[in-house]
Symmetry: C2
């Protein structure tokens, strides 16, 4: 079969072309992975090496332990090679064809656990809960600064997903502007809202729950599914059932609930696909749009099982060789 499918929220068309198809199990990662030790003396993120990173900006610590010393459970530091610098002022050079802005912003690393060999799929429930709670805490801290316009929390798992350090960590980048691609997403969501009087993501939750086939997990507060127009095999969205445009607006109970779904989904993926590389992104509205009715934050997990090539880069249209209905079935089996 060859079918075009539209993601109603992002307005991205994808092509499902199953002639060249693999069965879902054929996407299992085949590379034999070197088993990691729980502690690596050469790793800058391992306990005891706290001086190898910039000073911590936040940590969940054991009672009486000291900053930049062992005893932490989650530790947040500035990226040693930050893409952006919070000390700079936002100065736009206008009037020229070549437009620049100073690289003001924030780039943090969230070291998720002391153990070098864990990942979100193999941590304890309590550990994942702490990670989600720190995500929320850092978001809420940084959204107060007027010079930050959009806060992106993301996680690169595995070499093919762009990570260089194996110790489990996430990253946070606060941007001083709203990128065009996010602006376009918001505009598309706004148009849907104008046309239907409802949030496209709220409608998507209803429709996915009613269609059932692509839903892989849910609890009171979140639903996880393989989107109807999945860009890549096993793309997974985790969407809050309660409408929030902004990740920073959720309650600590919701953050806990998110950790349960996140852990479940990543454990399924780890088990069924043999610990695949993936990118995880918390897609949230720009700070100024935190209260909007038309946008809805969510977690997007993109396994790196295929290589986007010239066609995808040139058109923004992804070719997916397997139906999300099939991958959802496979992952739940």
């Amino acid at each position: 079969m060859s079918e075009l499918r539209l993601n109603r929220a992002t307005k991205e068309w994808i092509i499902v072309a199953t002639e060249r198809a693999k069965r879902p199990h054929q996407f299992q990662t085949k590379i034999e992975k070197k088993k990691l030790a729980p502690y690596d003396p050469a790793c800058p993120f391992c306990p005891g090496n706290e001086k190898e990173t910039p000073p911590e900006v936040y940590a969940v610590r054991e009672k009486d332990s000291l900053a930049d010393q062992p005893g932490w459970r989650v530790r947040v530091v500035t990226n040693k090679f930050p893409a952006l610098d919070p000390k700079k002022k936002l100065t736009k050079i206008t009037g020229d064809f070549f437009r620049t802005a100073s690289g003001v912003g924030k780039h943090e690393v969230i070291i998720e656990v002391p153990q070098h060999d864990r990942s979100l799929a193999t941590m304890s429930a309590k550990q994942v809960e702490q990670v989600c709670s720190v995500y929320l805490r850092r978001y809420q801290e940084l959204e107060k600064y007027k010079k930050f316009k959009l806060i992106l929390i993301f996680r690169n798992h595995g070499l093919a997903a762009g990570t260089s350090l194996r110790h489990p960590h996430s990253q946070l980048i606060a941007l001083p502007l709203v990128p065009a691609s996010i602006r376009h997403l918001l505009e598309e969501a706004m148009r849907y809202y104008d046309d239907h009087g409802s949030c496209v993501f709220c409608d998507m939750i209803k429709e996915e729950l009613s269609a059932k086939r692509r839903v892989i997990f849910q609890n009171k507060s979140f639903i996880a599914f393989h989107p109807f127009a999945s860009r890549t095999p096993f793309e997974t969205w985790i969407v809050p059932k309660k409408h929030h445009a902004c990740f920073g607006n959720i309650s600590s109970d919701e953050a806990k609930s998110l950790s349960v779904v996140l852990r479940h989904v990543l454990r399924q993926m780890h088990a069924k696909l043999n610990d695949p590389n993936y990118n995880l992104i918390i897609r949230t509205a720009p700070i100024k749009d935190a209260e909007e009715d038309y946008y809805h934050w969510y977690v997007q997990i993109l396994p790196r099982l295929t290589t986007p090539a010239g066609f995808e880069l040139g058109s923004g249209v992804y070719i997916n060789t397997v139906l999300p209905e099939e991958t959802a079935k496979f992952i739940k089996e």
Copy 2:
């Protein structure tokens, strides 16, 4: 340094963060490549194996040679596993939340030369000229069909760029719709035109020629440069000096002139970066916008020297660790 730079044409911001920088020469591909033979009996694209592919739809052939037999110089066939099928009718299912369209379209493979071990960088000038001429010919043939809205010609070079077959080839996909990302590009170009009364790409040519530092090659009809806001190290644009929104509107002289610049640029890259993986995309206006004053076709070459990760996927903002001024200098040396 950390600086934000805006691509005025695409409205994409990028971050230049040279703290984590490499020098340009450090981007050289280090993997030892297996030397290919000029002929591979197991390759479906090698002469003598014409029956391994679908029948040819076009070929440049030696006099008196027969279709689907050896004797071709460039050979165009339908992709054996086409993402889209020209026989289908365009039928949109409306009224549902989950919107689909039939996978109507065209997916062709342009087998560039009989020799298995060549690439655009190592072919003769005449061979590259023939390839560009076939690009143009196929474009002009397919733009006549009303059901095709956008024609994308692209080339994936190397495994990391998503290719599976080593025999030198390009691909063409004719889409039955204009994807959102292309629509957004056109809208941004239109806004620039409204504000300035000129095509943003025409202005970019003027500005790059005047700034000089990022220009790596030019001839009468084309200019090649590393864009001011390059997404990735060594990103290269080849832009026609004469305004055309559509690739299909160039003359055969211009196609020949393009082949000279393309070959030069890819030979530089091959020599200086040790045959890197790359994607090459001909970015052209949708067929219906072929005569517009505000859009301008160009060739985009994206070397796959870095891995886009969660931040790039989530924001559309790329972090580039080297200045295009430096990569341009290095490539010309």
